[in-house]
């Protein structure tokens, strides 16, 4: 039989055990290495009850599906519905894209994603750019017919589509025109305007940069208002932390800038007279998952509960649907190496696990060959298989928030939360995210973090296997790199010829009238510019025609150029 419990004695024994461990540790460790995570939080060798402020309190973390959602935004989380397996796809001609897409769906992908060619991102049609570049990074899609071909065999009533579609959202306009053609009710159309967040493009991913800051701000609000009313199952607002982290922001900075951006956009919507409980349930987030495993788990857990509080307290939302932090995440390409590329499969698996334990709703796993090319077929297959293995073989989804309650994870979640809030305060003090981006503050902070990370790698403080440690002979590296796949030049030429013929077949008067209608909307502050873009797509305008006209009318700005 146990002796009666004696609390003071037990406490003394614990204190004794602790000091014994501290002594043993100090004696055995040799030279202590100073460890800090990427966000700059010092990491101790051991965490215990003293390190977690909530320890010992009744229900310190609450429950999944209940505010502040530390443990997840739904009651069932991955034990119920897992996550949407959404692989980025985009290459070649619309026919090439469609073939790859149907193949990936047959192997288990449950949603569509569409990555257009860089020419499309930049707002140019195929006849305005260097032909060598066409279709090498995404599908060359310049009008409604091309969208129709891309999505052949995809039921728009049923399948969720994520379009990488920067302002002024021509791809969604093309897709809505396709839905109309096929007799699909817009109210059934579901998906996301991926990366519709113009602020992140201005900060960190100039690839998408099409309109001036004020122009992009207006078109985004028009786009949100239009979708809320006419395409109610569409997520028009995707707030992006991924670009910023890929550009060098630390995980804490990326989360902070993203939340500040969401606040900016929500306050802009409120300023326009929109109701938070109408637009916030259609806000989604998009993040990067780096290889800093625990830091990423803590980043997501902290961000989720900060957002729940912001939505309620700062933005005044009353419905739980407005408080839920729904996010898609992509494993980080920056962590992948060209050297010994098969190692990237292991990296991606660890990154994906961090995202899963962080409670994501949708996941893209990078292909191992992303460090040296747009993923080939084999790489894309393994990326999908990695998700299937994690979900169905490894039992990662059996328990909700399985790392919750770990002294380290809870302490780190608290520390990341504090760090994120401090960075958000810097942004607020600068006048909010729009003003901070306009002034270049955010760009400077990210640039400094990128440089610091590079120095960590160059100095060997951060090991990168195959790059600054455990290197192999160059020829061994090359042997594991698959040959690059580029679009068939003959097919691309035929695509260009067909496009030229289509352009010539249109009535110049009708094209002129459609462009004038676009200008009238841009000139009238009360008109909805996105609605006019949809009309332009219906009337047969091309991507470049729409973008060029709005660039003229709403302004085109250069990114800030400094080092």
């Amino acid at each position: 039989m146990n002796k009666p419990f004696d609390a003071p004695l037990a406490a003394a024994a614990a204190a004794d055990a602790r000091s014994r461990w501290e002594r043993d540790y100090a004696e055995s460790i040799g030279t202590e290495r100073k460890t800090e995570n990427v966000s700059g939080i010092p990491i101790r060798p051991l965490y215990g009850a003293d390190d977690w402020a909530g320890y010992g309190q009744p229900d310190p973390l609450g429950y999944p599906g209940q505010p502040d959602y530390t443990r997840g935004i739904y009651a069932t989380m991955h034990r119920g519905r897992t996550w949407t397996q959404r692989q980025l796809v985009g290459l070649g001609t619309p026919a090439d894209y469609n073939e790859r897409l149907l193949g990936i769906m047959a192997r288990g992908a449950t949603a569509v994603s569409l990555i257009p060619c860089n020419s499309v991102y930049r707002g140019y049609d195929m006849d305005s750019v260097e032909p060598e570049l066409l279709g090498t990074c995404g599908v060359v899609l310049d009008n409604t017919d091309h969208m129709d071909r891309c999505l052949e065999g995809v039921d728009l009533n049923r399948i969720s589509c994520a379009l990488n579609d920067p302002s002024p959202f021509t791809l969604l306009a093309f897709m809505l025109a396709v839905a109309e053609r096929r007799g699909v009710d817009w109210r059934h159309v579901t998906g996301t305007s991926n990366q519709s967040d113009y602020l992140s493009h201005h900060v960190a991913n100039h690839m998408f940069y099409r309109l001036s800051l004020p122009g992009a701000r207006r078109v985004l609000l028009d786009h949100i208002a239009f979708c809320n009313e006419k395409v109610p199952r569409w997520n028009p607002m995707s707030v992006v932390g991924q670009h910023m982290q890929q550009a060098g922001a630390t995980p804490a900075e990326a989360m902070a800038f993203t939340l500040s951006t969401a606040v900016q956009n929500a306050e802009d919507c409120i300023g326009r007279g929109m109701e938070p409980d109408q637009f916030l349930p259609r806000f989604t987030f998009f993040f990067d998952i780096s290889l800093s495993f625990f830091e990423e788990v803590a980043k997501f857990r902290a961000g989720r509960r900060i957002w729940a509080r912001l939505a309620r307290e700062r933005l005044g939302a009353k419905k739980p649907a407005s408080w839920r932090f729904k996010f898609h995440a992509q494993t980080s390409g920056v962590d992948l190496t060209r050297q010994q590329p098969l190692n990237n499969i292991a990296r991606v698996a660890v990154q994906a696990m961090a995202g899963i334990f962080g409670g994501l709703q949708s996941l893209h796993t990078d292909a191992y060959d992303e460090a040296f090319q747009v993923p080939g077929e084999a790489g894309a297959r393994i990326a999908v298989a990695t998700q299937n293995i994690l979900r169905e073989e490894a039992h990662l989804t059996d328990v909700i928030d399985p790392l919750g309650g770990s002294f380290y994870v809870e302490s780190l979640t608290d520390a990341m939360e504090e760090k994120i809030l401090a960075i958000m305060k810097t942004v607020d003090d600068a006048g909010g995210m729009y003003a901070a981006v306009e002034a270049g503050l955010v760009q400077r902070m990210i640039g400094a973090s990128a440089l610091r990370f590079q120095q960590r790698v160059d100095s060997g403080e951060q090991t990168v296997v195959g790059v600054n440690a455990y290197r192999a002979a160059a020829e061994d590296d090359a042997a594991t790199r698959p040959a690059v796949e580029r679009p068939d030049p003959a097919e691309m030429r035929a695509h260009c010829e067909a496009f030229a013929a289509w352009k010539a077949s249109r009535s110049p008067a009708a094209v002129g009238a459609a462009l004038d209608a676009l200008s009238r909307a841009a000139d009238d502050p009360k008109a909805n510019v996105f609605s006019a873009v949809v009309d332009g797509a219906r009337a047969g305008l091309s991507n470049e025609e729409i973008c060029a006209r709005l660039r003229r009318d709403l302004g085109f700005g250069q990114p800030l150029a400094f080092v």
């Binding site: 991913n205 690839m207 190496t337 060209r338 050297q339």
Partner: protein, 146 residues
Amino acid sequence: MSLDESFRPRVLVTKIGLDGHDRGSRIVAAACRDAGMEVIYTPPWQTIAAVVKLALEEDVDVVGISSLATDHLIVPKLMAALRDAGLGHMRVVVGGIVPDDEEAMLLKSGVRRVFHPGSTMDEITTTMREYAREARRAAAEQESTR
């Protein structure tokens, strides 16, 4: 021109084509500046003609092209344009995501070197300095044979 310790390379760090991922070009530009070079930096999306014009006006020794998303495929066109403008003495380096077989194509077109991911800043700046000396010598030879 003396090529002593006070030698200051002039380098242009830029991106041509369609892609805007500029983390690499910014980091390399900052590293070159910190290594004591004269750095001319531009935002992404320069046309080939604009790069040639800038290289000529700024009289640079080395042109550094950063490419993440296949823009390296038009570098051979840049090489031809530089030669046509009488700037064949300038050294051109490419940094970023370049597949092996396409690296061979770039070197054949006259690119001096391709830096792949994993290159250290020290390696890049040391090499750029060496190429800048080469370019000055080549320019001097061009001048004397004229």
